[in-house]
């Protein structure tokens, strides 16, 4: 710390410009913190050499937990000794990412004492990320976090930190209480969250409506997306006002309805609600005039993930509509059945979406005791390769038409 100021000509370039600068953040931290100072140095080196300088993380963590910490070591520990260890902690954020200034200051105080002073608000899964500390600091950080009511999030083959859109807290379209469900699932699955025991990771993401502001359909093993079953609510006067205010209702609203189920005669909008696919577009464009129906709940989808290694998946419909109210028994039963089947039959590092593809959706449904319905598919199979499991034998019994296991 008494060293002369490190030169970082490359990174300095990234202090310029109008967008908030992460380099300024690191430099600010570096003023007081040697880890941040060495991070700056090593990063400058990466910028010169066009290569990262981190080694594979070893297994580090806090006592009794299998996840929540990502081990990280510099491959230039002699030059940058203060980042020779540079582990991150994943801290389970409060649902919806709401904070008070008070609690944020407490978190900062802990990280000032025990870490680099650098964070991510937030990680892609939703956690508060405490970026960089030494192995011996992990327990103290954990202790102080639990003292202020925080706990670690997931990593490894466990339930990952569930996250959600702000839902009913700040959005008129939330079809169920995303934050309540997120809190409930997080608490219900504390053990599964902290102690990896699955074939691979399992992510829950809760979005209050089909806009899916938390990208759940693209990146969660179970995506829970709010929707409704009845008619779009309409305020006719507000419709007229939108028209008056210059919104081109025919072109921009009706013309973009994917179900082609809207009609605008210049005065009134008519919606064929039986045909409406609940896409949200018309509601999005006229929030004062239209809103989701009153019979609200959610659609449960399963299996999305990033591409490694069989190609990316989007979640697909498992339960087209479910009411989601505490105690959420039906949901929990479903999740438990899925976890059981997947945990027992999944291969190592096989996400549930890949598992379903391998064993076949039909077999998967049978195993988790869910009836196949056409809502689950975009279309029926195009290939004739059906694995019939039974055939008739030629003895007397069968000519009566009795099916037998072969």
């Amino acid at each position: 710390m008494a060293k002369e100021k490190r030169k970082t000509p490359k990174l300095d370039e990234l202090e310029k410009g109008k967008w908030p600068s992460f380099v300024k953040e690191i430099k600010t931290a570096a003023e007081k913190n040697p880890m941040a100072e060495d991070l700056l140095g090593q990063l400058e080196r990466s910028y010169e050499e066009k290569i990262g300088h981190w080694k594979h993380g070893g297994i580090v963590g806090v006592l009794g937990y299998g996840g929540g910490v990502i081990g990280r070591y510099s491959d230039l520990p002699e030059e940058f000794p203060n980042v020779s260890h540079f582990h991150t902690l994943r801290i389970n954020h409060p649902a919806g990412w709401f904070y008070t200034s008070d609690v944020l200051r407490k978190l900062c105080d802990i990280w000032e004492k025990h870490g680099s002073g650098l964070t991510n608000m937030h990680g892609s899964t939703g956690d508060i990320i405490f970026l960089g500390t030494r192995t011996e600091e992990l327990e103290p950080v954990f202790k102080e976090l639990t003292d202020i009511g925080f706990d670690l999030g997931g990593s490894g083959s466990d339930v990952r930190t569930p996250s959600c859109c702000c839902g009913k807290a700040r959005c008129e379209w939330a079809c169920y209480d995303t934050m309540a469900l997120t809190y409930f699932l997080t608490m219900h699955y504390q053990d599964e969250l902290h102690r990896p025991a699955f074939p691979y990771k399992w992510k829950f993401k809760m979005a209050g409506c089909p806009n899916d502001c938390v990208a759940s359909i693209a990146r969660s093993d179970m995506s829970i997306i709010g929707t409704w079953r009845d008619e779009i609510q309409m305020d006719k006067e507000a419709v007229a006002e939108y028209a008056k205010s210059g919104l081109n209702i025919q072109r921009d609203v009706v013309g973009n309805c994917p179900a082609k189920c809207m009609d605008w005669d210049g005065k009134e909008i008519k919606i064929d609600n039986k045909a409406c696919v609940k896409c949200m577009h018309c509601i999005n464009t006229m929030p004062k005039a239209l809103s989701p129906g009153k019979d609200r709940g959610a659609c449960i989808l399963i299996g999305s993930k990033a591409p490694i290694v069989e190609g990316a998946l989007l979640s697909s419909v498992l339960i087209p509509f479910i009411k989601l109210e505490p105690p959420y028994t039906e949901l929990i039963d479903l999740v438990d059945r899925i976890h059981e089947v997947w945990a027992e039959n999944g291969k190592n590092r096989e996400r549930v979406g890949e598992f379903i593809q391998r064993v076949g959706m039909g077999n998967f449904l049978e195993a988790i005791e869910v009836e196949p319905i056409p809502q689950m598919i975009a279309h029926p199979r195009e290939n004739p390769y059906v694995f019939y499991e039974e055939y008739y034998e030629e003895d007397g019994e069968d000519s009566d038409g009795q099916e037998e296991e072969k």
Binding site: G17, Y47, Y65, T88, S101, M121, G149, I308
Partner: protein, 360 residues
């Protein structure tokens, strides 16, 4: 207190969110009637009760010092009784009830270096990952590219002059933390050189059967190196996925000459209008050029602007391309079409043009 210290507390989960909700939200939870975007970065939610909640959304670098977080806290105290939140795209939102405080807050945020915007038909923050700041897997940096791109596109963040929302995301390797695979524009770090096996140390560091099994293309086979068990990579079969490296540190793919960035377009997540879509390959490879990756910045800007100029209102990138067709997309953006654009993975056949619906 002394005994409490002894007891190690675990599995308490996160604090209940209710503790952090401002009174106006607690009172109107689930009662919001509609919202309106008042100007860039500022919206109001109106409750059935008549209550108003103003949200001011400010940009953030996501990688934040505790110093900056404390400054956010100070602003929250000054303008909104200490309440604030972060968004699913890592912006920070201040939650006000007093309309007159909006402009002073914006002023202070501007001074702090956090322009306000990202709402409505704009570019919001770029979802991104660790890059060279923290990950061993990275084929490029994350924060540096994000900063460079957003510096260039800032006007689309602070104003609302685009046909619709546009979501940009960055992942520094094929693991794609951040799910960039469904973004209007995705910037993806890629390796292009097969793993350099650390032959002598492999045995000590990794389990050979799991290394062999990790490869989706069966490019890895057991081999002996100086009498020791090791592995060998059949280079023609390698598709640079780095799955072997994830399971075995002795298989690094990082390589300054061959790592770089690819650009993908036309994905979306929302169900609005069209169904969610994956992003598709637009530019197979741009070499890493720190600190400001000018070629990447230029490519993204070009994509944004060609789309902005030609899309109809509410038309996301992918919806626009679906309307005009990929041949026109390549023509209008000036991106050369190459062999690499044509899928040759599992479902390749389904991505071929299987009709004569063509324009000339």
């Amino acid at each position: 207190m002394a005994e409490e210290k002894q007891k190690r507390v675990t599995d308490i989960g996160p604090p209940h969110y209710e503790k952090f909700l401002p009174p106006v939200i607690k009172e109107n939870y689930g009662k919001w009637k509609y919202h309106e975007i008042l100007k860039p970065g500022v919206m109001v939610h109106v409750s059935e009760s008549g209550a108003n909640l103003y949200t001011v959304r400010a940009s953030s670098s996501r990688l934040l010092s505790i110093d900056k977080i404390r400054k956010y806290a100070d602003l929250a105290d000054k303008y909104c009784d200490g309440y604030l939140r972060f968004t699913s795209r890592n912006n920070v939102e201040f939650l006000l009830t007093d309309k007159s405080k909006i402009d002073p807050l914006i002023q202070d945020l501007q001074v702090l270096g956090h322009p306000v915007g990202g709402m409505g038909n704009s570019i919001s923050n770029i979802v991104h990952t660790q890059g060279w700041v923290h990950c061993h897997s990275a084929a490029t940096d994350a924060s540096g590219i994000v900063k460079s791109v957003m510096d260039e596109l800032i006007e689309y963040f602070t104003e609302m002059k685009l046909p619709s929302k546009i979501r940009i995301a960055l992942a520094c390797c094929l693991n794609m933390c951040g799910a960039v695979h469904c973004s209007d524009i995705a910037i993806l770090g890629i390796h292009r050189r097969p793993p350099k096996v650390d032959k002598s140390r492999l045995k000590a560091m990794c389990e050979i059967p799991s290394v062999v099994a990790s490869c989706p293309t069966a490019a890895i086979k057991p081999a002996t190196y100086e009498g020791n068990p090791s592995v060998e990579v059949i280079e023609e079969r390698c598709m640079f996925c780095a799955n072997c490296y994830t399971v075995c540190p002795a298989m690094p793919l990082n390589d300054p000459l061959n790592d770089g960035v690819s650009i993908w377009v036309g994905g979306k997540v929302s169900n609005a209008r069209s169904e969610p879509m994956f992003s598709k390959l637009a530019i197979p490879f741009i070499p890493n050029n720190p600190p400001r990756w000018p070629e990447v910045v230029g490519a993204v800007k070009n994509l944004v602007e060609v789309w902005a100029k030609n899309a109809k209102p509410y038309e996301r990138m992918g919806e626009w391309i679906n309307r005009i067709g990929w041949p026109r997309f390549f023509e209008m953006t000036g991106i050369p079409f190459q062999k690499e654009h044509i899928d040759d993975f599992k479902h390749a056949g389904l991505t071929f043009k299987r009709s004569v619906h063509l324009t000339y």
